[in-house]
């Protein structure tokens, strides 16, 4: 449990409860950095035409300024476009109708003025090869948001130290206080200093879908689906949605789904857990 803490003032009484909350927060953020880490699944296509929304799409909740993308093609293009759509409208993020002989399209696009913070979007590419008659390749390798324009490794740090537990009238020692430094610096080295918000590829399987390690209460999804316990112990749960629209399902209603459980969402077009509805 993370507890937001108010700033302290010099001369203010230092309580055990404040220090314990600080300890729990430090331990909590270090633990968050140890939660399972999922990958970005891109796209590999090979044909004479290119690709459109029908070939692949990615769901994302807009949170950060920069949308990172990287696309590699093996033949000259007629045009390269990246779009974001929600049920109400489609927004052009990149329109490049004169790509020339460029084969790698990559960058960190500032989308803060284009997308609504907190809203869900489907991202997709419109890529047309310029009159090629043999199959050419398209590789979608990156599509995610960040608060930074580059990807930097996390700063190194020493080992994690368990923050102290306090009781009233304990003496505050330098050694105990320095454990906070060790704990937080270690957590930073595990989390990194950059936010990273992955886009999730649309379900392109018959009945496999998405694999989660459960963490958040709310499952945002598109279309009908089924929540399945791969161990077979828990009863499958149907989720219903509307094609082309984002729906939300309360995972607290699934009795066997505890934090850290590996589970599968089948059939839905998209599925992502989030901490709010």
């Amino acid at each position: 449990m993370f507890t937001p803490l108010q700033d302290r003032q010099n001369g203010q009484y230092l309580s055990a409860s404040y220090l314990n909350a600080l300890s729990e927060n430090a331990a909590h953020v270090y633990g968050m950095g140890l939660a399972p880490n999922m990958p970005f699944r891109g796209h590999v296509g090979s044909n004479v035409f290119g690709m459109s929304m029908a070939d692949a799409g990615w769901m994302i909740r807009h949170r950060y300024t920069y949308l990172h993308y990287k696309v590699v093609v093996t033949e000259p293009l007629d045009h390269f476009r990246l779009k974001a759509t929600d049920p109400k409208k489609t927004t052009n993020l990149i329109v490049n109708d004169s790509p020339g002989t460029t084969e790698t399209f990559q960058g960190a696009l500032d989308v803060s003025g284009l997308l609504t913070l907190g809203a869900w979007y489907e991202l997709y590419f419109e890529i047309d090869f310029e009159g090629t008659t043999t199959a050419a390749n398209i590789f979608i390798q990156r599509l995610w948001e960040s608060d930074a324009t580059s990807v930097e490794p996390a700063p190194a740090a020493g080992a994690y130290a368990v923050p102290p537990e306090w009781e009233q009238n304990y003496t505050v020692s330098a050694a105990d206080m320095n454990k906070y430094k060790s704990a937080l610096d270690a957590a930073r080295s595990q989390v990194s200093d950059q936010a990273f918000n992955l886009a999730v590829r649309r379900n392109d399987t018959q009945d496999r879908g998405f694999w989660f390690v459960h963490r958040h209460r709310w499952l945002h999804h598109v279309g009908n689906g089924e929540i399945v316990d791969p161990s077979g112990a828990g009863e499958a749960v149907e989720i219903s949605g509307v094609e082309g629209q984002f729906s939300v399902f309360d995972l607290y209603s699934v009795p066997w789904l505890t934090e850290g459980t590996l589970y599968n969402v089948k059939d839905a077009n998209y599925a992502v857990e989030d901490y709010d509805a």
Partner: protein, 198 residues
Amino acid sequence: MAYMAISTLNTGETLTALHLNILAQNAQHLHDLMQQSNVPCPSFHRTEIASAGVDYTFRHRLPLLRYRIANVTGTLNYYRIFYNGRLVIDDEDPTVSPYTGVVNLHAPSEWPNYAGAWNSGTSYYENINGDGSIVLHGGTYYVCIDGHSGGKEPGVETSYWTAITIPVVGSLYVCTVTAAFSDGAKELAIEYVYEDIG
């Protein structure tokens, strides 16, 4: 607000509100960075395919890579997993589907073709499909890039050996999963790969 440097305190030093506030704000900063959507691993599934290769891009955080691969019909000839092109799982005789497992990306000594500590009198095999010999020498892991019958010291003979880069937190890498059937086009599912701790 960015992460702020935390000073080390000495005994007898006055504990200031500023110091406590930096601790609290740093914890909040890290919490906010990690308060993200919890995304899944999207599966790959085809009902009729002879072989497949699927790329996953990771921003590295945890050392272990877990996977689950299934052939619903047919007989798999092999499945393989690569870290930046380097073979880290190689099952050439898969028997009972689904195939689940884990590999430690921080421990090349656990990868296929690890040949132990470098020995000047040993033959080493060329890296063709990410499968060259791996040795440990001077605390660094190297992969053989040009097969030879010995006498080429890693770290010195750079046309024969290249150092293996162990992923660091925050760095990007590509994980590629490949699989092929021995009996034609059949049903294959690459269900997940994700990073975890032990």
